[in-house]
Amino acid sequence: MKYLDEYRDESLAKSILAEIRRLVTRPWVLMEVCGGQTHSIVKYGIDRLLPDEIELVHGPGCPVCVTALEMIDKAHAIARQPDVIFCSFGDMLRVPGSDGDLLTLKSRGADIRVLYSPIDCLKIARANPDKKVVFFAIGFETTAPANAMSVFQAHKQGLMNYSILVSHVLVPPAMAAILQSPQNRVQGFLGPGHVCAVMGYEEYEPIAAQFHVPIVITGFEPLDLLQGTLMALRQLEAGRAEVENQYPRVVRREGNRSAQQLVSEVFEVCDRKWRGVGSIPNSGYRLRREFREHDAERIFAVRQIDTRESDICISGEILRGIRKPHDCPAFGTLCTPDHPLGATMVSAEGACAAYFAYGRHLAAERIAAQAREEAVLS
């Protein structure tokens, strides 16, 4: 398939891998920022194709995973109300709050709908004037323009029964927080391709300079990830620390200016609590005052929610690249995608869930080696 098969080509992958092996002289730790990248890396077994010197650790860039538990409980409290149609991206449905998940609420009669775009909510709001339609607006900068557009349009059209529950998070402050931590191991980043399609990558340049780390804005296909790794490695081996763009077919330095303008008209930057991490200053969006009639937190005035946490899970350290899923005693046993204990297991793009889905809970190194030997199909 055009624009896909080219980026999954085995012979090209082999030649990039050979170049990586030729260049590498010492161990390096790279972090891929996005959950989508983590998913792709584990799905295609890319980390296992790399030489031992290069360790990929998995970043905090799965928006579903890092949505604070309090926010999920708020969402559930709103979705339970009888006059509410609660709309969400699909992968939020299985995320457990303090008491069950949205799928369970749905089975108990709540009107919960899976959408691909918040813009579809406007149609639902128009068709159901006696209901309150709420969209769970989570995500990084990538989903912000569509979420902003839904509020902007609802406001313009006077659809007062539409609101969003905002839990937006921003990538650069999280990267800075990771680098500031005394336990930091990350020496270079594969930057978030789709976030930068919207925001551009100017704002990453001060981070690369301040912390002296290479940041390579990278795509999501196997060859993107291998090439991004190669570009970061070249910088590390040469002692450079710059922002480079591996993903020029989608990303420009200045990003998408009209999307940025819309986002800044509707949202303003605020502090945000990240699940598994804690509060990071200036790391989120909230609705501007002009749009407060569409702010679900204000409309529903959900009281302060007390959340309770497991004491086994190490997702905080996984999200920061300090440890990996199989370092956790609960991984694959007490904690599975059916019964997630923490942030990184709740969404398909969380590092633990990706490891689990692709079999790494089953002494997978051994399995993979054996499977490779036997995969010579006639």
Binding site: P63, G90, S98, T104, S181, R308, S310, R320, D338, A375
Partner: protein, 370 residues
Amino acid sequence: MNISLHPEPQTLSRTNGTTDSAPNFSGPVCPLPVHERPEIVLGHGSGGKLTHQLITGVFLPHFSNDLLDPLHDGAVLPIHGARVAFSTDSFVVNPIFFPGGDIGSLAVHGTVNDLAMCGAKPQYLSVAMILEEGLPMGDLLRIVKSMKRAADEAGVLLVTGDTKVVDRGKGDQIFITTTGVGLIPEGVSIHPKHARVGDKIIVSGEIATHGIAIMSVRDGLEFETEILSDSAALNGLVGVILRACPQVHVLRDPTRGGLTSALNEIAEQAGVGIVLDEARIPISEQVKGACEILGLDPLYVANEGKLLAVVPAESADCVLEAMRRDPLGRDAAIIGEVVAKHPGLVTMLTRVGGVRMVDMLSGEQLPRIC
């Protein structure tokens, strides 16, 4: 794998010390698990792990007997020296008319195929309908005609039936249950347990078209496409396979849960490993594109007119050639083989030369955010 209908109340562990004041990466910070589900959720019908848990945790402990326990697509009944395959299936598809078929033809194909996967020649079907008050008579007629046509094409007779009507809002237009019987010819012995190390795995054509065709017309997810459901009766193709290789070890139609569920069940029941080659799995460009856009993995998407055949290596080419001469097997391909290592697991050689495990679906496959 047991599921409990009366789970113990959750034990609360200590409240985590995370505060809003500063980023904290070192502390344990995660939520409580949701233990066993106290009520049925849609995922219990997905054909993946939750369905499996329902069967092994709730149904089997109560219904267990020698004929049920093999958990094949149908039961094989010894009646007066003959072997009769017996199978039942309910259909609740939404929307009831979709590109490439409707709930009526699907209900006939589904049970015909379940019988065919036992190696049987399907003969007689029963039809039970639950109709919702308000269903347009024209829609019902269209469905009935479609069932008749599907039955004629598959060479089966609809010989008995039942009708119930429920209040508006208590059903979703129409639900259909079909049950069928068929005779298994002498010498044919097909069962997931029969997969042997060295066997080749053949799929009869491009996968995932049914699930994607349904999704393309479902509320809230509509998108323009020419993808048609592959819904079809496979008993003719099974006949072709059995003529080419009467010793075929396993036949499965990978419906709900897709290729992955069917292959994992075979690996588990036969106690063997399975290795797939991603590059050999036939998927149409359109389905591949739709899956990329929707964030779905085609290996988990439902098929209604495809089968998996596990055949001895020496017969694989002969079976493949015969299948490709049949219109329903035109795009058949050998996609993997049965191995001794990692029993119970399915792995896949990826396009870029990596290896990964292909696990059964956990719950519903949900569209991803990015």
